[in-house]
Symmetry: C2
Subunit: 462 residues, 2 copies
């Protein structure tokens, strides 16, 4: 049987300020319908049933992931949570190990969750080819015929020497995995038919892959073999060293075969990649914002705010606007967005970490304003959801229900608060906010106090 392994643990910091550490790229809708993760699931479902699709991600993303996969009827046990990111080799090995216990002959189709693929038929065809090779004991990678001498991708060099096998299946024996090249090398590779882009899509038997892990990453193998079920992950994971599958396995194994992808493919690795994928207007601009432009060319405007963005005489820029952070970047330097994120981390800011709108299991809230002694939030609670019973030592809260009905627990009891009614929660008062109805609840919260951070919270059971 074929099994899907979707790698969804990355942060994708090159899509900052849309992506944040707590809201990574794969959960964003940047191209097409649905998020990048959802698009990947949809592709995967073309070649296997939902119960064969596994997703591995960071445990911090569980809430968001569950929301996003809700309509795909994936079994909950197929969601594998990493306590922390360890790069691709441990993640894939973990999934291989767990799937092998279910089906020792399992063939894995490993897909990153940040690809854009338009032609799903051709994609399925390439996978079928790859699966045939994989069943013969090869580690198969899908190779992309380079469209330009890109320095942004790793390359794979194959042998064009035909073998009986390759003639039959349109596949090549891989000679070498090569890291992102200089422009001079990239130009050489581009002219040479033996070079392909490394797509990061892999197809192999779980057993064959684990054999290679045993051979080339024996320590990882031992650690992974200690995991009998998902409950064991937490015991082992912190000891595992990060390692990419390219560096740890693919650059060493002699069993690798490349199947040309044969479909249009874009790695949505940075803002610039969207320029290839999204529809442009007559001036060659991509505008997903409330915008007025005079004479700009080749610009991409993305907005998550509700501000008007006006542009005059610009050329080849990326503009990405959010309520708390704006990025304006020359298109040729989209890779360097990561450096801004690194600076934000170093200076202990929070714009790389969370959005002003933060998602929670029960809904989400947006901080509208924080100034001396007060903070204003809009809180939206999904139907039938509830916040924990809690208490704050340093702040009081004023709630105005602006839509829906709240059930409020406070020292004076439990009561329903309707739209256009308000409630006061004094400091130190135990309270709970619930949405008892089937429609969303929206409240405006005004906090007052000398300390207004999220960590002033004591949660109670029940």
């Amino acid at each position: 049987m074929n099994y899907g392994v979707i790698l969804a643990g990355g942060v994708g910091s090159r899509f900052w300020p849309f992506s944040r550490e707590l809201e990574p790229k794969q959960f964003l809708q940047v191209a097409g319908k649905g998020s990048l993760l959802q698009s990947t699931i949809i592709r995967m479902k073309e070649v296997m049933p939902a119960q064969n699709i596994y997703i591995i991600t960071n445990q911090a993303y569980l809430t968001e992931l569950l929301k996003q996969v809700k309509h795909f009827s994936l079994p909950e046990k197929n969601i594998i949570l990493e306590p922390e990111g360890k790069n691709t080799a441990p993640a894939i090995a973990l999934c291989a190990r767990l799937i092998q216990q279910r089906d020792k002959d399992a063939v894995l189709i490993v897909l990153p969750s940040d690809h854009y693929i338009k032609d799903i038929k051709k994609f399925c065809f390439a996978l079928q080819q790859a699966v045939i090779c994989a069943k013969k004991g090869f580690l198969v990678t899908l190779g992309i015929t380079p469209k330009n001498p890109s320095t942004g991708y790793g390359y794979i060099k194959v042998s064009l020497q035909p073998s009986a096998f390759s003639r039959q299946l349109n596949s090549y024996k891989v000679e070498k995995f090569l890291e992102k090249p200089s422009l001079i090398k990239a130009k050489k590779y581009f002219k040479d038919k033996r070079f392909f882009w490394n797509s990061g899509m892999f197809i192999w038997k779980a057993s064959v892959f684990m054999d290679e892990v045993k051979l080339y990453l024996p320590q990882l193998y031992r650690q992974i073999m200690l995991i009998k079920d998902t409950g064991d992950i937490i015991k082992v994971w912190h000891k595992i060293s990060p390692m990419s599958v390219d560096y740890g396995i693919m650059e060493h194994s002699g069993k690798i075969v490349l199947v040309p992808a044969g479909f249009d493919w874009t790695d949505l690795g940075s803002w610039d990649a969207l320029n290839e994928v999204l529809t442009k207007d007559a001036k060659g601009n991509i505008v997903q914002a409330d915008s007025i432009d005079l004479d700009s060319r080749g610009i991409c405007i993305f907005s998550r705010g509700n501000r008007l963005i006006s542009t005059i005489g610009l050329k080849d820029l990326i503009i990405a606007d959010t309520p708390d952070a704006l990025l304006i970047c020359d298109r040729s330097r989209a890779q360097e967005v990561k450096k801004v994120v690194d600076q934000l981390k170093l200076s202990k800011r929070k714009e790389h970490f969370v959005h002003l709108t933060e998602k929670r299991q029960w809904g989400h809230y947006t901080v509208l304003k924080q100034a001396g002694g007060f903070k204003i939030k809009i809180i939206e609670i999904e139907p039938k959801k509830s916040l924990s019973l809690q208490r704050h030592k340093k702040r009081a809260e004023h709630w105005v229900v602006v839509s829906g009905t709240a059930r409020v627990t406070s020292p004076s009891g439990v009561r329903l608060v309707e739209s256009n009614q308000s409630v006061y929660i004094p400091r130190n008062a135990k309270h709970r906010l619930e949405n008892p109805k089937n429609s969303p609840l929206k409240i405006v919260e005004v906090q007052t106090g000398s300390y207004l951070e999220e960590d002033d919270i004591e949660r109670f059971k029940g």
Copy 2:
């Protein structure tokens, strides 16, 4: 006696999005201490007492103007209000007429309110020269020696033929006023010592100027002569045709003399002008914002929001950010900001008209959010100020005092509301909000209702 006439009626739409129709350029602090208007008053006070300084502006700006001139002890009668803008000729003629009634030998020094002049001593010296010429019956204009072949200024051509008079006073007889030239012409002018930039600073006797108005704009003259005091303005003003003093008088009069300015001068006509005036960092950038930059050159970032602005690899751009509108503009095209403003007007938006923070006689308020059925404002009321007694038919208001003390009048009486207390004002309830204390009052207002626009208000006396 010398009298100052400061022209402060313009909108300055090229400084959008900082300038708005209700918050024009002259009231903004864009360079130096204080607003452009305040800097102009400070310069004027170097050459005359405050009681001789007149300001003419649109009556819509009265509240803001009074706040800005408060510390200069200008007599209130020196503030002349136009019911609507009619360009410079009517404005200057009106001031000349009113000042003449006070002093028939008055010499007027007419200054726009959007100039940046660093060396005030040289400025005063040039004015002294100009006043001597003006007293001899000339219309004097200060001419700027061109620093480059700018196409952004009008030019003045003088005769270099020396006369006894010009030798004595370093002044030239003006041959011609020329409109903004093409680049080819500008380059010719730039090489020729007979050409100066038209600064728009004029010095003349009120009587001489009015004689020229009578000669060249006889209809305007008759209309202005109907005005005996400021109370008459409203009766006449709507009949007056707009006319610039350059076009109406300066291009025709034979009495014009130019005094070279002899000081560094910048017309702050557009964002680009600030590039000449403000201090640059090591990379040649001007950054007045919370910003992270990688490798940009020659960019100017101005922020009135509190968003982080990150820039990568940009060159020669202007970025001006406000909570509801962002401008990104190639520096060479700063003049075209006006076109964006024109588009906003045409599409009946409001980003050209007001800021999210609106000023009022009693303080100001900021709209933080308006969504289905509710609106959130922060309202700041200055000490001892009060809003009108009022009533809303379609909305209720929830107030949370977050700093200071409010005196609230409502159907249940008058009471003091302290910080961290709240008040509910139902629909149709007459109410008033006051700040009875000597420190500022800040409240968060949550409005709820089906219609939340400012025009749902009924004001009461008392």
